[in-house]
Structures are given as structure tokens and as C-alpha cells.
């Protein structure tokens, strides 16, 4: 019976809420259902948008659902910042047999990032997609956006390994279509989406194989349970193989350096609003899954002592930081430059993971947040340029700093944060990474982080030079971006500065998350006992 719940995950969710709600003796209020509602509301809003089919209703419903998720995620985060975890049993089936949603500081933080970015991007998307996607597709765009959002939130919320795969595929499938919608501007979006689908599906299938190996040797899919049982069989070859499959599969979704080939095209040819949303959320959630498996399920000891993963991830992270930044410098398309820069920034996060210290891991999680808002700002700025100048090539944006001063100023802030200039969000996380390296006595690593930031100076400067130091082109639309785009852009740009100046909140939340992850399985079991 519990298998049915586990397997038919989607139906399970819908049925689960009803079932628990009718159990009057348990008298659970709405607030107790937040861990599942945060995922369920956007998930159910998606078919609602399609069934209503009205273009006027699509946006308000989407926005309301995303806003609800943000509020719910914030309330969950405030509940777990003390270091506790919330355990929610879908349909009242107790884990490890039933599906458990387990919210702790790490995934509540990720859910806040994802839903906040969605809320900020939606007003912007309304104007942006009106110019980039034909009107008859708008309803479907919103439904897909909701599905992608629900999938990403579900991946973060769930404490069940197979359920995670299902949500991963929900968000991925929606993402492939969203990327392909860029075909109205450039037909290469189609082949890009197809390649993304091939690589994404291969990655997800690798992940399922890994989960299968773990299930084979432990008989459970619940992450806390897996953690406990894996710790009991340190020499098991099947678990080793499962570990390898999971890391490679997730590496594809993260765009870990040699597995990044799907990313540049997907970010370049997708509609602007989709690029901004994807760049800020999709890879970040995959990084979270990687963290969850490396630290919670396998435990730091297993991951880094048995598998010596530091020396696998570290070179790849460094390669990403340098090679991808270097490629970014030579792009003629601003959007593609940002895409390559994203691969480099993912390198920083992997670096923080590979260094395996509290400080470095905090740095990686803060960078996850900071890079999300930085890249969202920059991709939104590019979207505004595309709207007015008609393209994202450097040639198109010559002198645009004088034509669109407000948009460009926000772009400069984003660029500075990308470099890691003090006073912007990017500085905080890079500072933590450098600190983490110095704590370990790896001064060479600290130098490498700074050196790769210098490469970022080069590609950001290229953008600034083109936008400000050249004569504006005559043939472009000489208006500032509309307010519906400008306001979200500036909200993002200002939050980049805000989180650069007052980093207590992000560093505090990330620190709690890192602490929970570093203490690994033992922490989970203590809090898990309280949840049952």
C-alpha cells in the first residue's frame, strides 16, 4: 500500500492532503500543511490555468500561486532557522514507508530563493513574453512556468529519493518546452531544447539507476533512513556504484564542468524571462540535491573519505572557473557570455562543497543565493535590451547605456556583483570561499579564486564598454524599458546591493544550513525522532 503512495507520487500528493485534512482527530490546521501546500498550490494552478484557458486570467493565477509559495516558504524558513526540521507525512503514511516531506534550513532556504525569483520575474515576464512569444501561447507559457516552479519546489521539499526524481522530471520537462519556446525568435532554440532533453533525461536516468542501487542494498527510499542504513555498510560495492551514478546524473543537471554542454545554448536561445528564471533557479536546485546526497544521505565521512571526492570535484570546479570564464570573454552574444559565466559561477559553488569545511560550505550556499539574484538581474537586463534593441549581440547594444540609462545602471550593478566587488552580494560569498580556503591553509586556492574573478572583470568590462563608451546606434528604439520590466529589474539590482551590505540574514541562514549538512546523518536522526 505504501508502495502505491510512493510510486504514484502525483496522485499521492493530491489524495494525501484530503486524507489528512479529513482526519478530524488530528485537527491539523492549514499551517501544518504548508510543507506540501508550497508545492501543491503552483502544481494545481497549472492545470487550472490551462482549463480556464483565458489569457487575462493566466497571469493573475500564476502570480498568486507563486506569491503563495513565497509566503509559505518564508514562513517555513522562519520555523526552521533555529536548527529544527519539520517532517510532514504525505497522506498520513509514516516514513520510511510513506513519503516524507522534510523541511530544514537548507531546503527552506532553497525554496525561498526559487519562489522569490519566480515572484520577481513574473511581472517582468508579462511584458517580455508579449514581445517574444505569440499571444496564443501565453496561457501555456504560464502553465509551464507553474509546472517548472512546482517541480523545483518539490525537489527541494521532499525527503524521499524517488519522489525527488519525479519532481525533477516534472520541472525538467516543463523547462525543455519553455526553452523551445525561444524558437519564435531563433530556430536554434529547438535543437538546443532537444539536446537539453537528451542530456537531461540521461542525467535523470543515471540518477534513478543510482537510487535503484541504494534501494537494492537498503530497502528504503527515505533519505533519513537511507543515511542511517548506508552508514552501517561502509564497504558495500553496490552503494559505491549507486553513489557514482547519482553524482554523475546530478552533475549533468548541475552543469558541472565537462557535463555542461546543454547550458550555453539553453540559456542563449530561451525567451528572456525563461533564461532569467532558469539561470537563477534550475541549476541552484540541482546543486542543492547534490549537497543533500553528498552530506545528508551519504554523509561527509562517506563522501569525502571513502570516495575522496574532494580531488574529483576540486579540479572540475577550477576548470569551470577558468575555462568557462575564458570562453565567456570571447563571445559576441551578451546572453551567451552570461551563460558561460553561469558555468564558471557553478564552479565556485562546487569549490565550496569540495573544500569540506563549515565556512566554505556556507560560502557555497550563500553563493547559490547571491548568484541567483545576480544572474536574474543580468538576464532581465538583457531581456529589456532585446525588447528595445532587437537582439542580444554586443553590436545591438552599442551605446545603449545612454539610451536606456536605468536598465543599464542595473546591469552594471549585476556585473559588479558577478565580479565580486565589495558592497555587492557577489563579494560576500567569494569572501567566504577565500576565507574557507585560508582556513585550510590553501592560500593558492584563495589566489585562484581572485584570479578567476579577474577574468570576470574582463567580460563584464566588455559589456560596460560596449554599452557606455560607444555611440548609440541610430536604428534602434530609443526608449527606456517599460516600468513593468524596470521595477523587477531594480528590485533585483537593489537586493544585490542589500545582501552585499547586510549579509547577516543570508550568511546566518546559510550557516545554519551548512551546519545541519556538515553534521550529516546524526543531526537528521535526532530531529527525525521528534518528527515522528
Amino acid at each position: 500500500m505504501s508502495g502505491q503512495v510512493a510510486g504514484d507520487a502525483l496522485a499521492g500528493h493530491a489524495a494525501g492532503v484530503v486524507e489528512t485534512a479529513t482526519a478530524a482527530e488530528r485537527a491539523l490546521g492549514l499551517a501544518d500543511h504548508l510543507p506540501v501546500l508550497v508545492v501543491l498550490v503552483p502544481f494545481l494552478a497549472a492545470p487550472l490555468v490551462v482549463l480556464l484557458g483565458a489569457r487575462r486570467l493566466a497571469w493573475p493565477i500564476t502570480f498568486a500561486a507563486a506569491f503563495f509559495s513565497l509566503a509559505a516558504a518564508l514562513s517555513l524558513l522562519s520555523g526552521v532557522l533555529g536548527g529544527d526540521a519539520i517532517s510532514y507525512h504525505i497522506g498520513g503514511w509514516a516514513p520510511p514507508l510513506g513519503i516524507e516531506y522534510r523541511i530544514d534550513a537548507a531546503n527552506a532556504f532553497v525554496m525561498v530563493i526559487v519562489s522569490a525569483i519566480a515572484v520577481a520575474i513574473l511581472p517582468y515576464a508579462r511584458t517580455s513574453i508579449a514581445a517574444e512569444i505569440p499571444a496564443r501561447q501565453h496561457v501555456l507559457f504560464h502553465a509551464l512556468f507553474l509546472l517548472a516552479l512546482a517541480g523545483l519546489l518539490g525537489v527541494a521539499a521532499t525527503g524521499d529519493a524517488f519522489n525527488l526524481f519525479v519532481f525533477l522530471e516534472i520541472s525538467s520537462l516543463a523547462t525543455y518546452v519553455l526553452v523551445a519556446m525561444g524558437a519564435y525568435r531563433d530556430k536554434r532554440a529547438l535543437t538546443t531544447a532537444f539536446n537539453y532533453l537528451l542530456m537531461g533525461t540521461t542525467g535523470a536516468t543515471f540518477f534513478v539507476i543510482g537510487i535503484g542501487f541504494l534501494y537494492m542494498s537498503t530497502g528504503t527510499l527515505n533519505m533519513a533512513d537511507l543515511a542511517q542504513l548506508i552508514a552501517q555498510q561502509p564497504g558495500n560495492r553496490t552503494i559505491h556504484a549507486g553513489f557514482a551514478f547519482i553524482i554523475v546524473g546530478m552533475g549533468l543537471k548541475v552543469a558541472m564542468y565537462p557535463l555542461h554542454l546543454w547550458l550555453p545554448g539553453a540559456y542563449t536561445y530561451a525567451p528572456s524571462a525563461v533564461s532569467a528564471f532558469l539561470a537563477a533557479t534550475a541549476t541552484k536546485v540541482a546543486v542543492y540535491v547534490l549537497l543533500r546526497f553528498l552530506f545528508t544521505v551519504f554523509g561527509p565521512q562517506y563522501t569525502f573519505e571513502a570516495a575522496e571526492l574532494t580531488w574529483v570535484i576540486l579540479p572540475l570546479a577550477l576548470l569551470a572557473m577558468f575555462a568557462a570564464s575564458f570562453i565567456a570573454i570571447f563571445q559576441v552574444n551578451f546572453k551567451k557570455m552570461l551563460a558561460y559565466s553561469s558555468i564558471a559561477q557553478i564552479g565556485y559553488m562546487l569549490l565550496g562543497i569540495a573544500m569540506l569545511s563549515q565556512t566554505a560550505l556556507t560560502g557555497a550556499i550563500v553563493h547559490l543565493f547571491n548568484h541567483a539574484i545576480t544572474k536574474a538581474t543580468l538576464f532581465m537586463v538583457i531581456g529589456a535590451y532585446v525588447l528595445r534593441a532587437g537582439g542580444a549581440f554586443y553590436r545591438d547594444i552599442e551605446g545603449i547605456g545612454r539610451v536606456m540609462p536605468w536598465t543599464s545602471a542595473a546591469g552594471v550593478i549585476g556585473g559588479l556583483s558577478l565580479i565580486g566587488v565589495p558592497g555587492t552580494a557577489g563579494f560576500v560569498s567569494k569572501w567566504l570561499l577565500v576565507q574557507g580556503a585560508l582556513e585550510k591553509g590553501w592560500w593558492w586556492m584563495a589566489l585562484l579564486v581572485v584570479a578567476s574573478s579577474l577574468l570576470a572583470v574582463v567580460y563584464v568590462w566588455k559589456g560596460i564598454e560596449t554599452a557606455y563608451l560607444r555611440a548609440p546606434r541610430e536604428d534602434v528604439d530609443r526608449r527606456e524599458a517599460p516600468l513593468t520590466m524596470l521595477v523587477p529589474i531594480w528590485i533585483m539590482a537593489l537586493s544585490t546591493i542589500w545582501f552585499g551590505l547586510s549579509a547577516e540574514w543570508t550568511v546566518g541562514a546559510a550557516g545554519t544550513a551548512a551546519e545541519a549538512l556538515m553534521s550529516g546523518a546524526s543531526q537528521l536522526l535526532i530531529s527525525g525522532g521528534a518528527g515522528h
Binding site: G3, A6, D8, V166, L173, A180, T191, L197, T201, R470
Partner: protein
């Protein structure tokens, strides 16, 4: 020794099958140029995983996991583990969704490029990027203009 090896080979027959299918599928995805064939490869790859899960649920001497209608379960009867099967129901659904989406994309690619051969599409795209570089790439050659 010879006997033990034989036992090892036969005892793991399902895994050999799984490994062969999986590598065949993955090889087709990588090696074939035709997009539809790539998707067929992806399907074989996914089917291999389904085989792995299903065979994993088998309990020696176990029967189909269907309880009698009256709910009185005889503890003497061994049942096969139904959980992997149920998991694979979901995986099949995911697989179908992926395949149909991929085929839809292929139709659109055919409409835009007039081909679904990787090599031809690659060449067409190289041409587009070369044109873009010619058109937009000289920006940094002529400074300050």
C-alpha cells in the same frame, strides 16, 4: 572453480541483460545521427532501468503480491516486493512524457531545418554562427568607432 564462475554468470543473468540493454541504448543516443533513432536509443536506455527495478523486486519463491479479497493474509505465503514495480509505473509515465515531447520537438525541427540528421543541422548552425561572427564580431576590432 569453473562451476562457481558459471553460477556467478547465470545467477546474475538479469544484470547482464540490464547492462547490455543500457549500454546499447546509451550508445545509440551518442552514436546515431538521426534524431528519431536517438530517441529510440533513449527509450532502450530507460527500459533497461525498468528491467533493473523489476528484477530487483523479485523475491525467491515469491508469488504475485495480490492479497486475498477477505484480507486474511497467510503468513506462510511469500510475496514478491511490489514497490519497485509501482515505482516503475511512474518511471514509465515519465518516459512516455519525455518521448512524446522529444517527438514533438523533432517535428518542429523538421519544419524549421528540413532535416533531422544531426550532421546536417550542425552544419546549418555552424553557418548561422559564422554569419553572426562576421556580422557582429568585428565590434571589438574597431575600437571607439
Amino acid at each position: 572453480m569453473q562451476g562457481a564462475n558459471w553460477e556467478y554468470l547465470v545467477g546474475h543473468a538479469n544484470y547482464w541483460l540490464f547492462v547490455t540493454l543500457m549500454m546499447t541504448g546509451l550508445y545509440i543516443v551518442v552514436a546515431r545521427g538521426n534524431f528519431v533513432k536517438k530517441i529510440i536509443g533513449l527509450n532502450i536506455f530507460q527500459s533497461a532501468v525498468i528491467m533493473l527495478y523489476i528484477s530487483m523486486g523479485k523475491v525467491e519463491g515469491g508469488t504475485a503480491p495480490i492479497f486475498p479479497l477477505d484480507g486474511e493474509i497467510d503468513p506462510a505465503i511469500t510475496y514478491t516486493n511490489p514497490l519497485p514495480h509501482v515505482l516503475m509505473l511512474t518511471a514509465i509515465v515519465v518516459g512516455i512524457a519525455t518521448t512524446s515531447l522529444a517527438l514533438a520537438l523533432i517535428v518542429r525541427i523538421r519544419e524549421e531545418y528540413d532535416t533531422i540528421e544531426e550532421q546536417d543541422i550542425w552544419e546549418a548552425e555552424q553557418e548561422i554562427s559564422a554569419r553572426e561572427r562576421r556580422q557582429y564580431g568585428e565590434v571589438f576590432g574597431e575600437a571607439g568607432k
